[in-house]
């Protein structure tokens, strides 16, 4: 155990850039996916195009993208811009699908009530559709974040700095400890970010839990003995949602 104490600065710097390369694409991907998904959710013709198109994107091997993008974008091969753009493409591939499901999971009668009260389409989107889509959307975001944290490391192979650099460097120089540190920090980062998102989700979806109250009592909830149940309610978006969607698709198909 001699490598780590001498290289704390390096590990911190790589963790920082790794985090940046994983999170920024999720933010950009979300900004791109939400409007696309909203379009897809609202139209029977656009939907298969978007959802299948997005699925296709996901089949492009990441290393290919890292190599091709510099040519297309005119960046240096070691630039992190390549990673950001490549991962944003993958995030869009994941999120267009789950955001479409999210918008379609919103109860139709609630949307009709919102319209009947006199929301303009724009007001209805911000005040009703988006907040109600959060639980299902969040499941996709968590998947994307975890996937990104592992994929960012691939860039190290062609010399883009990240925690993956610890693997490549450790392998080349035969330092097992360096590789181990890389593995541990990556895992901690993935689990940590996932938990932060989960808790954020709990706060954003207090209204979903029978015990939840407006005005901050949810914080205490998490620690109560039924915390386990709150937890499953938070991720419930992941579970039931696709089923609901499947049901809707079947219903629409029958009507068409």
């Amino acid at each position: 155990m001699t490598w780590l104490p001498d290289n704390v600065d390096l590990v911190l710097r790589l963790t920082g850039t790794h985090l940046f390369q994983s999170v920024l694409p999720v933010v950009l991907g979300l900004l791109i996916s939400i409007p696309l998904a909203r379009l897809a959710a609202g139209s029977r013709w656009v939907r298969p195009l978007m959802v299948n198109g997005a699925a296709l994107l996901y089949t492009i091997p990441s290393l290919t993208l890292f190599v091709v993008l510099p040519v297309v974008l005119g960046t240096r091969i070691t630039s992190i811009v390549n990673v950001i753009v490549a991962l944003t493409i993958y995030v869009v591939a994941i999120l267009v699908r789950s955001c479409t499901d999210a918008f379609r999971s919103v109860d139709r009668s609630v949307l009709q009530a919102a319209t009947a009260m006199g929301h303009t389409p724009w007001q209805r989107f911000w005040a009703v559709e988006l907040p109600l889509a959060v639980p299902v959307m969040l499941a996709g975001v968590r998947t994307a974040v975890v996937a990104n944290i592992s994929m960012v490391s691939v860039g190290a192979v062609i010399g883009i700095q990240s925690l993956g650099t610890l693997f490549t460097d450790g392998l080349r120089r035969g330092i097992a400890e360096e590789i181990l540190v890389g593995v541990v920090v990556t895992v901690v980062l993935a689990v940590g970010l996932d938990q932060i998102l989960r808790l954020t989700g709990l706060v954003l979806t207090r209204w979903q839990r029978p015990g939840g109250r407006a005005g901050g009592r949810a914080g205490g909830r998490r620690r109560d003995p039924r915390g386990g149940r709150s937890d499953s309610a938070g991720t419930a978006g992941t579970g039931p949602a696709p089923d609901t969607t499947a049901g809707r698709i079947a219903a629409t198909g029958g009507g068409a």
């Binding site: 109860d107 009668s109 609630v110 009709q112 009530a113 919102a114 319209t115 009947a116 009260m117 006199g118 929301h119 303009t120 007001q123 005040a127 009703v128 907040p131 109600l132 979806t205 207090r206 209204w207 979903q208 029978p210 939840g212 109250r213 407006a214 005005g215």
Partner: protein, 368 residues
């Protein structure tokens, strides 16, 4: 009443798939009245209602509100000027009760504080506890959600209320409460209300006028409820209003019924009982100290016997009430005698079924 708040003029709606939901509808809803749209499933009630607030656009014809063609009013503005209540309460699940009620005032640009105060006072108007204001809709019972739905529709004090089967998902007891409160609200707030239901009893109870829709979106009859029951316009209406139509029509008769003087007052021990003679078939009616009915004692049962088996139920006759309530009070009484009570609930006497039937006979004679 001269003004027509809502008018349909030759309105037709054909959906893109070719379904004709509403066929050539012309109908005027007088200002300040409650009009009920009734009819079997799929006959175009919801479609007609939604053409009033432009949730559905007519294929041809026009809908006017206060003389103005609704298609000339921007959708959002039009909708904010009308309350809308639907079957599934349609509350926003991520907003608290108060936030839900305050929705339309907020959309109209009123301040947060003003909207909230308005929402709080409405909680009271619709008979909900103030403490419920901070709850989310999922934490309310179905009946409470429906009340919040009504409060939300009233929040901006719109002159027009559109209600689509608002009470059909709650149990009969709560429904009766909500119906009574709606009538009360209507009187106090002077709203023009269009109310959709497929329950004829609800239509008769609430409606100043009833529009009966037939399958295929045709308006079969538009008249006061009594007329619909007594003089159905065609075979469809008479089939739809159904078997109990004669009984329901008694709701509109309040002919005087003679009280039988068969009750004599006795004191048996601590309790006061009435009757017990041959004229009441041996049944005696126990009353409390204030003279309110407690329960019937069967012939041979003495004081102290358990009257709870023969409790006087909810069905009591108040002189001046309808013949339907008189007949129902007699039919539902274990002794066969309807108990007549005054406004403070004291026993005034009993009605024999034959006297009720005689009164029905007389009412019929008086009508023709």
């Amino acid at each position: 009443m001269g003004n027509h708040a809502i008018s349909f003029r030759d309105v037709r709606k054909t959906y893109p798939d070719g379904t004709t939901a509403v066929d050539d509808l012309s109908l005027d809803v007088p200002e300040g009245s409650l009009t009920v749209f009734v009819g079997p499933s799929g006959c175009g009630k919801t479609t007609s209602l939604r053409m009033i607030n432009r949730m559905v656009e007519p294929t041809s014809g026009t809908v006017e509100v206060n003389g103005q063609d609704v298609s000339s009013v921007p959708e959002a503005r039009l909708r904010r000027s009308m309350g809308y209540v639907m079957q599934a309460s349609g509350l926003l699940p991520h907003r608290t009760v108060l936030e839900n009620i305050a929705t339309v005032p907020r959309l109209l640009g009123r301040s947060k504080r003003e909207s909230r105060e308005r929402a709080e006072s409405l909680l009271e108007t619709i008979g909900l506890d103030r403490d419920l204001g901070g709850r989310y809709p999922s934490q309310l019972s179905g009946g409470q959600q429906q009340r919040v739905g009504v409060a939300r529709a009233l929040a901006a004090d719109p002159p027009v209320l559109l209600m689509d089967e608002p009470f059909s998902a709650v149990d009969p007891v709560v429904r009766a409460d909500l119906q009574r409160e709606l009538l009360d609200l209507k009187q106090r707030l002077n709203k023009t209300i269009v109310f959709v239901t497929h329950d004829m009893d609800e239509a008769v109870l609430l409606g100043d006028r009833v529009a009966v829709f037939a399958t295929g979106g045709r308006l079969a009859q538009y008249a006061p409820p009594e007329q619909v029951l007594r003089a159905p316009a065609d075979q469809f209406v008479s089939d739809f209003v159904g078997r109990d139509r004669g009984f329901r029509a008694l709701s509109f008769d309040s002919h005087e019924v003679a009280l039988s003087g068969v009750l004599s007052r006795n004191h048996e021990g601590e309790t006061t009982v009435l009757g017990g003679s041959e004229a009441t078939g041996g049944w005696t009616l126990e009353v409390d100290a204030a003279g309110r009915p407690v329960g019937w004692l069967a012939p041979g049962e003495s004081d102290g016997a358990d009257t709870s088996a023969h409790r006087v139920g909810g069905s009591l006759y108040r002189p001046g009430g309808s013949l339907r309530s008189a007949l129902d009070a007699a039919l539902s009484s274990p002794s066969g005698l309807a108990v007549a009570v005054d406004d403070s609930g004291r026993v005034r006497g009993v009605l024999r079924p034959q006297d009720v039937l005689a009164a029905i006979e007389q009412a019929r004679g008086a009508r023709s």
